[in-house]
Symmetry: C2
Subunit: 373 residues, 2 copies
């Protein structure tokens, strides 16, 4: 990892986001502050509710500024509704806007993904040279973790978009895994170079020939390579990526349910469980989604981290720490530098085509948005 | 389930296919025959190796005819190589060709998927009115099983291809689940009608408006709906479907490995395991891929079932039973009837565009095949 920036890390939190609002966000922030005393918080939302929680955490209170908002975005709202109702005035918008205004280094929200992405794109716009955003998550693997993107910020990807994702994901991997040249795999239906859709094959060609300084292109990988941890970064177009992520989450839940049911069904199994409970605790910790909470919107001109909506304080603290690391180890500068290294592969027309195709977003994406920007 | 056809069910087996060849295929066939005495077998492959195994199963020997072939396709061969080396003369080709010649009602192979698909397409061609093949697998869910397609026969799908898959998958579901009107879900990145790629949205519109007699269109589903068993049939384009299947398999393996490691790590956990071993056996049975072995190539003018290459006799018997059911309950007739019900949605240009894009197959697909057909 490169030298971290010095000074306080200022994070803006959408305190009303997620299933539980301030009752999870504030304890989560307190937990993150214990681990990283150099964080300052801007807390956006209903000041009465926030202050009530803050009263329990004097250390956090001393490092936080509460900014009241009347509007909060619900988990059910479509991106278009959220923008209509919450632009400028919601806790979500204002926490992002604080990044735009340089009052915060990064924003964190557990609010609904589609609304958060729509607002982030409208407010922050895209980075120079990046065409569309990608959502990058941490995926637990047999080796530790990998970064998988895009898990649902955009639908479809040209070869250049996949190359951009490889570059942005590698920049994030350098920070998260503290390695100089993360390995990158392109998800495909086979490992042979002749297979797959044209865009993926073309992206493979570019990455192989470019031989970029901060990225080690591994080649094609298949779905089961993710869990094996074959590469540090896994790149896939957002439609398939979103479905794949949810399918894997569903499979993990299904197996956990089987296990619970199998153990609950017999007396001897329950006795066995008591003996083996240390092992089950280890398994549970290994599968704990809270430890890998915090997905990063990449490609935006600012850092926005999405927390799971249903997480608890510990999970929320993980998301805050992801934001903290991205600021401290300069994600945006790393991406900008990597894009410059890319040189000739910069798309001439790559600009902020933000409004286009916003009706067509995955995973709580920008939905039916049609009205003014 | 409709009335089964009467008379013997004749199945042709590629006895050399898979990691273990006749040593798994023959015991598997014997097991299937015990359960279904009305099966007759054509066994293709090295007659010495087959006869050696057959000697152990006199009941099977009495119902089987061995047909010697000199060539067998390896698990590593590319589809183009396999076709070049094995067309007409390999055990794989001849077992398929037996279906074409009406000597067998269905073929089963544990050989490599890409080669099997390429040979099946070349030998059997597509059904009237179907544009491209799909590979349908059984997926274990919280409710039992669902049929998921396409898990890797084709890349990309127009709306009409997705509709075809819904129809063919439903026909298979009527047989496997014995229900008259299976529910069908289209995988998407959200359940709202405004989301997703155009082809998926258009397919949804067609299925909703068509209101077909043997298919209950449920709507969009998300990745985690598969494990929940939200619908009987799950439809997705083959690139995403193949990656999604392998990702889920990888996740299941990863969790099983965690569990094993967690239990192996402590003395008390091992003691606990002894008490709970009934529960673990139940979990293992629930997760046993052998019980759901046997994926069906849909859209071909003939029935070909693909067994996992690494399966054992019990798993191979499952694949044989899938083939048996598809014959007995008339899969092809059901699909043909359902396509006729579809009426106006039959594509005017839908014909055997078999050779097109064969270079572009997922999951051990037709690979770099370019030469003669």
């Amino acid at each position: 990892m490169s030298t971290p920036t010095t000074g306080q890390v200022r994070l803006s939190l959408d305190a009303m986001g997620g299933d539980h609002g301030p009752s999870v966000v504030i304890p989560g922030a307190a937990l993150a502050l214990e681990r990283h005393p150099d964080i300052q918080f801007l807390l956006y939302g209903d000041s009465t509710a926030i202050e009530a929680e803050l009263a329990r955490f004097p250390a956090l209170k001393a490092k936080a500024e509460v900014r009241h908002t009347d509007v909060s975005i619900t988990m059910e709202e479509k991106p278009s509704q959220a923008l209509r109702r919450g632009r400028f005035k919601s806790s979500m918008w204002q926490s992002i806007d604080a990044v735009k205004k340089d009052e915060a280094h990064a924003a964190v929200s557990a609010g609904n993904t589609g609304a958060l992405m729509a607002m982030s794109r409208f407010c922050l716009r895209m980075m120079q040279g990046i065409d569309r955003p990608a959502l990058a998550c941490l995926w637990p693997t047999a080796r530790g973790e990998s970064i998988v993107l895009d898990v649902g910020a955009s639908i479809g990807a040209e070869a250049e978009n996949l190359v951009d994702m490889a570059i942005m994901g590698s920049a994030m991997a350098r920070i998260v895994f503290d390695i100089e040249r993360p390995s990158v795999g392109l998800l495909n239906v086979g490992v042979e170079e002749v297979k797959g859709v044209e865009q993926v094959k073309e992206a493979a060609r570019i990455l192989r020939e470019a031989n970029l300084p901060n990225l080690s292109y591994h080649g094609f990988i298949e779905g089961d390579d993710i869990g094996r941890g074959t590469t540090d970064v896994v790149v896939i177009e957002g439609f398939a990526g979103n479905i794949m992520l949810k399918t894997a989450e569903g499979t993990a839940k299904q197996i956990a349910d089987y296990l619970k049911a199998a153990i609950g069904r017999s007396f001897w199994a329950k006795i066995g469980y008591l003996f083996a409970r240390g092992a089950f605790a280890a398994l549970k910790a290994k599968m704990d989604p809270r430890a890998v909470n915090g997905a990063v919107f990449l490609g935006l001109d600012g850092i926005v981290v999405k927390s799971h909506g249903g997480t608890d304080a510990m999970g929320y603290a993980s998301a805050i720490e992801v934001a903290y690391d991205m600021v401290k180890y300069e994600l945006l500068a790393k991406i900008t530098k990597a894009l410059a290294d890319r040189g000739e592969w910069v798309l001439p027309g790559a600009s902020t085509r933000m409004v286009e195709a916003m009706d067509n977003q995955p995973a709580g994406g920008a939905g039916e948005m049609t009205e003014g920007s």
